[in-house]
């Protein structure tokens, strides 16, 4: 009995130290971009905030969008808003197509969420999002007109998804948790989506790719709280291509 007791103590100590070593030193060290010393690993495990990692962080100096997304951001749209939006949207057809489905690489607007379209128009007008043609176009629109255009396009039929139900690429399906990249569907999901996160399926691949690169480089800055920029910065070019092709409806490889 005494022997068992001593053994018990020894085993307990061994387990405690082994567990402590694994949890506080070994596992934290095994991370990508891991700590430089055992002490740093220990502190990370305890949750002590660290000094900023070197240099590749982009300091955001662009002004944020002035669009505050609330549930009553848009006035409830009436059928007449859609009619007025239809007439206003005639001027959009050269680039965005007669039914809101573009014939080329400009984005499809048919069936896009009204809040998304409204936010982008507001951001084009204020200059927070920059585009040679959209900035002057949006500057000429009043708030009511933007809401009417948004209501009109939201009422249009989305482009038919031609994709055979394929398994999404890993970056879309799982994201990359160790790089703080959430799966796309957590905001852009088809069943539910976060405020003003656009519907992505059926958008031209070239457009999606261009926007992802614009977020990654910091050229596009109207994402709320920098979420898109934070995520896309960590994506590899291959992952960007896979994601763009997937949402565009292609089953092929980049």
């Amino acid at each position: 009995m005494k022997q068992l007791g001593w053994w018990g103590v020894i085993v307990t100590f061994v387990l405690v130290f082994a567990g402590g070593f694994v949890s506080y030193f070994w596992l934290p060290s095994a991370q990508l971009n891991g700590p430089r010393s055992a002490f740093e690993a220990f502190c990370i495990a305890l949750g002590v905030p660290q000094a900023a990692p070197p240099s590749t962080i982009v300091v955001d100096v662009a002004p944020p969008s002035d669009v505050i997304l609330t549930h009553n951001l848009l006035q409830p749209s009436t059928p007449q808003d859609i009619g007025h939006g239809a007439t206003l949207a005639i001027r959009c057809t050269p680039c965005h197509g007669p039914t809101g489905i573009s014939f080329a690489d400009s984005p499809n607007l048919a069936g896009q969420y009204a809040a998304t379209i409204y936010k982008q128009l507001r951001d084009f007008k204020s200059g927070v999002r920059s585009n040679a043609i959209m900035n002057p176009v949006a500057q000429a629109l009043s708030d009511t007109q933007m809401q009417q255009i948004a209501a009109y396009y939201a009422s249009r039929v989305r482009p038919v998804e031609s994709r055979v139900a394929a398994d999404p690429p890993a970056i879309v399906k799982w994201g990359a948790p160790m790089r703080n990249i959430a799966p796309c569907g957590s905001c852009h999901g088809s069943e539910d989506h976060s405020a003003a996160s656009p519907w992505l399926s059926g958008e031209p691949a070239a457009y999606l790719r261009a926007q992802l690169y614009a977020f990654a480089s910091g050229a596009r800055t109207n994402d709320i709280n920098g979420q898109m920029r934070a995520m896309v910065r960590g994506m590899t070019p291959t992952e960007i291509d896979w994601a763009a092709l997937y949402f565009a409806g292609s089953t092929g490889a980049p």
Binding site: P94, C95, P98, F103, A132
Partner: protein, 235 residues
């Protein structure tokens, strides 16, 4: 008794004839001119193509007839997408298009005042550089190489670039860049626009829209200069 009735009948008949003759005379036909026929264009492009205050609709008066003809064809064939134009032109034919184009090409109307520019001086300077000297590193020829030293255009198919709203110009350049506007191949404007950045499009549009115009601005006669690119729209 009979005489007075007969007299009244005659007066009545005569009145009726005069009135009906009058009525027939009033039912004139529409003027048999091309100008009367193209009133279908008036609300957007102006009664004689001078344009309107709405920046989305271009001035068409005084443009080269070949250019206007090509655009009418482009709308009918779908190379340019704009539902009101596609609808209006769907069942009209080339010979009539030529007549319409000739009509508007021959109009000599005062230009609207150039735009009060809202862009920066730096952007205007950059725009001037691009328009007059191009950008050799990106392979962008100067606009004046095809559109003329005074941006008047040249017969038959290259339009002038002065007297247009900046929003219209940037929309067309962006449409070419995005691939939603097409011209007959080889589509040289698409080639050029594909090499432009968005900032350059803004600069070019702002510079062009701010240029003063004189009413003497007319497309140069065909052959006045040789274009550096071969374009489907210009023989």
């Amino acid at each position: 008794m009979n005489g007075s009735i007969r007299a009244k009948a005659i007066v009545l008949l005569a009145t009726a004839l005069i009135v009906s003759a009058d009525a027939r005379a009033q039912l004139a036909s529409a003027p048999d001119t091309i100008g009367a026929r193209v009133q279908g264009c008036a609300t957007c492009h102006g009664r004689a193509g001078e344009g309107s205050r709405d920046e989305n609709f271009p001035r068409i008066a005084g443009k080269p007839a070949g250019y206007l003809f090509n655009q009418l064809q482009n709308f009918r064939e779908g190379r340019r997408s704009y539902p009101p134009m596609n609808y209006l032109l769907a069942y009209l034919h080339d010979d009539y298009f030529q007549e319409m184009a000739n009509f508007f090409a021959a109009q000599r109307l005062p230009f609207a005042k150039p735009e009060h520019n809202v862009t920066t001086a730096a952007a205007t300077t950059a725009g001037e550089q691009l328009v007059h000297r191009g950008d050799g590193t990106s392979g962008i020829p100067p606009c004046v190489a095809c559109h003329g030293p005074r941006l008047t255009g040249i017969q038959p198919g290259i339009p002038g670039l002065v007297g247009l709203h900046s929003r219209y110009i940037s929309a067309q350049l962006e449409a070419w860049r995005a691939g939603t506007r097409h011209a007959k191949s080889p589509d040289c404007m698409q080639e050029i626009a594909a090499r432009l950045t968005e900032a350059q499009i803004t600069q070019i549009s702002a510079y062009l829209a701010a240029q003063p115009v004189s009413d003497a601005v007319l497309p140069a006669p065909q052959g006045t200069w040789k274009t550096p690119l071969s374009c489907g729209s210009q023989p």
